[in-house]
Amino acid sequence: MSERERDDHTGTETTGHEWDGIKELDTPLPRWWLWTWYGSILVAIVYWVLMPAWPGITGYTRGVLGQSDRAEVAQELKGLAAQRHAGESRLRAATLQQIEADPELQGYAMQVGASVFGDNCATCHGAGGAGGNGYPNLRDDIWLWGGSLDAIQHTIQVGVRSGHPQARGETVMPAFGRDQMLTEVQVSDLTEYVVALSGRKANAAAVGRARQTFVDQCVACHGAAGTGDVARGVPDLTDAEWLFGSTREAIHDQIWNGRNGVMPTWEARFSPETVKALAVYVHANAGGVAEPVAPAKAPGGEGVAAGAAGR
């Protein structure tokens, strides 16, 4: 320690440190500063007595106030459950249409729906519901299984090819190429035919060759005009939406391999109120109109309409 030195001007001692002739004054702190410090110590001691503070070997000092974050969380969860109970009973009592018409109840359903969708549906359909290759886009106006509130609710309940006894999707797209039902040339020609159906430019010769194949193999489900059948989940081949991709390669691949989408049944996992809320959420996000696509095009084949009963 260097020698203590007193500064003449202020009468204060210096710290004894010197930098290029500049010395630091050891100015004393004001006394109230000291009292503030003592005060803080006192507050700490009071805190130890009142609140959980010191860890021990088998536990910790609990404090006389009995404060516990864990108990608070449990209490809050209980309160939340009670709050939800009120909303759930209202959802149970109302029809889907009533829910949508009541702004307050609709708002509640949207919140429940958004949360459930994010946890369960977003994995395949995407966070915003825009889908992806093989997973339907839930935001547009094209619905394989119907876009009305009731149709959406039913699809969520039973799923698609899910093993549920009432599951949607008894019709399947055959793997025409893989199962050697058609030759490579026939599949290629059919691809051109389907491209032409959607209004795009296609090889006219190939389209001509495929006409009979289409009537033989495809019309039974997709209809003579290729407009599909919502009742059986048969896609419309004439619109702008392609579940498995719109390119020639993608269409060829789909005819060759015949992929069929699967969606689980959610009946066992969600309460009926949750399914309702989810249906309202999905419906609203897609535009919220009663029947998304007006059947502008006349149904294709005669045989198609005949088998369209039931779900």
């Binding site: 204060t12 419309d236 109109v289």
Partner: protein, 499 residues
């Protein structure tokens, strides 16, 4: 430009009898024994009479009246809106100031007001020194009030010093006790008045005494009671010298031409006692009576020159004037004066005063600019406010006929006290049709926003396939009967741009 007046080193501390300034006593103590912590030397400012003291009383009454009365001023507003003229409504998220109503997102007006206040403070400081510290600062005003109470119970300076030194007796007990009781009452009144700014005053008054007020009201009241009592009663000048940053900053605003409370050395020196009948030739006017020192609430000797502690309250001017009158010398030995003038007079020249200086000009320009901006902003506030939030997931949706739909959430704020029905339109997207969920595209989109509310409105914009860039700019407009608002946004066309 800068003249350093280092009078401390030139003038040795006065020897012999006469009261020392508190600051000098602290220095003395430090010289005697080096201590780790410095005890406060109590200051017993003596009551003075005069012009500045009268101004200080007047400002004390004025500022305290504003503080206590403001929350009780009523201002009729329609419906269930609060009828309090000045109200910071945290629950309703509004700030009411007479006819002005600010929303949280308009906090920049408050920022503007604070910038204006800061610039005004700079300008006033550059011109007239620390007027704020001496006359308007709450610390000064409440300390003055507390000293007034102290004087009422314990008497003036000498009586207070005697009482402090006296042993405990009934007389000392009731005087000290009474003082602290009144101090606490004033402190409670201060904290109590504060909370009325944040909740309807008459309602809160009832709630407060029946234990039904929000816990924050009690906590705020208790905190302000404690700080008022401690700061104005016990800390006093230490708040200014140790806690407040302003004394350190003000040096940047002051220059040689700023008016400050100044001891006119040129006239006062050489100081010394003066007996009646003696000549005034060959000596200064200062008779070294220490009237200025004992009057100082900061415990300094103004004759040591400008000091960090000095709050420019002018009480030493009044004290000195009284003495000058008595000894038959002209007033204003201590006065609001500039460093420049003192130096000029000492050199035998007549000083000039420069109020228009580069510093004061640019403070004025900045102040005028910011004020104009705030006033312009307030005058041009739109009663309706519109913001469009694009859907991000998905950014667009292709419909069965190939058309493209974008989703938006419109946030419409109605800042008026009456409901507004608006019609929403969009321009910029060729062939675009607007719709709300559940409604067919093409019908006019109308909605009603309740008074003083924000409404979120989901809208879809559907456009036929187009040959355009991947995104086109678009403008939403809302139109009410007598007002409108617009906001810019983007429409994604779904066209894939080549990489």
């Amino acid at each position: 430009m800068t003249t350093v007046i280092d009078t401390v080193s030139k003038t040795p501390p006065p020897e012999g009898p006469g009261p020392q300034s508190a600051a000098e006593k602290v220095r003395q103590q430090a010289r005697d024994k080096g201590e780790l912590y410095k005890p406060r030397v109590p200051i017993y400012p003596k009551l003075v009479h005069g012009k500045w003291r009268r101004i200080k009383w007047a400002l004390l009454i004025l500022t305290l009246t504003i503080y206590y009365v403001t929350p009780w001023i009523r201002w009729e507003r329609p419906g269930a809106l609060p009828d309090q003229a000045v109200l910071v409504d945290f629950f309703g998220r509004r700030f009411y100031f007479f006819g002005i109503q600010l929303w949280p997102q308009e906090i920049y007006f408050v920022t503007g007001l604070l910038v204006m206040a800061a610039l005004a403070l700079f300008l006033v400081t550059a011109l007239f020194g620390r007027l704020w510290c001496g006359y308007a600062c709450p610390q000064t005003v409440w300390t003055d009030l507390y000293i007034y109470v102290e004087r009422a119970f314990e008497g003036d300076r000498n009586a207070r010093m005697r009482l402090a030194a006296a042993p405990w007796s009934f007389d000392k007990l009731w005087r000290k006790g009474g003082k602290h009781a009144v101090w606490l009452a004033v402190a409670f009144g201060t904290g109590g008045a504060w909370i009325f700014y944040f909740r309807d005053a008459p309602t809160l008054l009832g709630e407060f005494w029946t234990g039904r007020a929000p816990i924050t009201s009690y906590i705020s009241c208790a905190l302000l009671t404690a700080t008022t009592y401690v700061f104005a009663g016990h800390m006093r000048e230490q708040v200014c010298t140790y806690m407040c940053p302003w004394p350190r900053i003000q040096g940047a605003m002051l220059d040689d031409h700023s008016l400050q409370v100044t001891y006119r050395r040129d006239r006062g020196e050489t100081r010394g006692p003066h007996k009646k009948g003696q000549t005034w030739e060959g000596r200064g006017d200062c008779i070294d009576c220490h009237a200025c020192v004992v009057a100082c609430p900061m415990g300094i000797d103004i004759r040591d020159g400008p000091q960090l502690e000095c709050i420019n309250c002018g009480l030493c001017i009044d004290a000195c004037d009284e003495i000058m009158d008595r000894v038959g010398r002209p007033r204003d030995l201590i006065a609001y004066d500039t460093d420049f003038a003192v130096v000029e007079r000492a050199a035998g020249r007549t000083p000039s005063y420069k109020f228009v200086r580069a510093r004061t000009i640019y403070y004025t320009v900045a102040l005028a600019g910011v004020s104009a901006l705030v006033v312009w902003g307030l005058a041009n506030r739109t009663p309706l406010d519109l913001h469009a939030l694009r859907d991000r997931s998905p950014t667009f949706v292709r419909l069965h006929d190939g058309s493209v739909r974008n989703g938006y959430t419109l946030k419409i704020a109605n800042r008026t006290f009456a409901p507004h029905t608006v019609e929403v339109t969009i321009i910029g997207v060729p062939g675009a049709r607007l719709s709300t969920p559940g409604e067919a595209a093409g019908a006019p989109v109308r909605t009603t926003i309740a008074a003083n509310e924000v409404r979120a409105l989901r809208v879809f914009v559907t456009a036929p396939p187009m040959d355009a860039a991947a995104s086109v700019p678009a403008t939403f407009t809302i139109r009410a009967r007598d007002t409108a608002a617009t906001t810019e946004t983007t429409f994604l066309t779904g066209v894939e741009t080549p990489p």
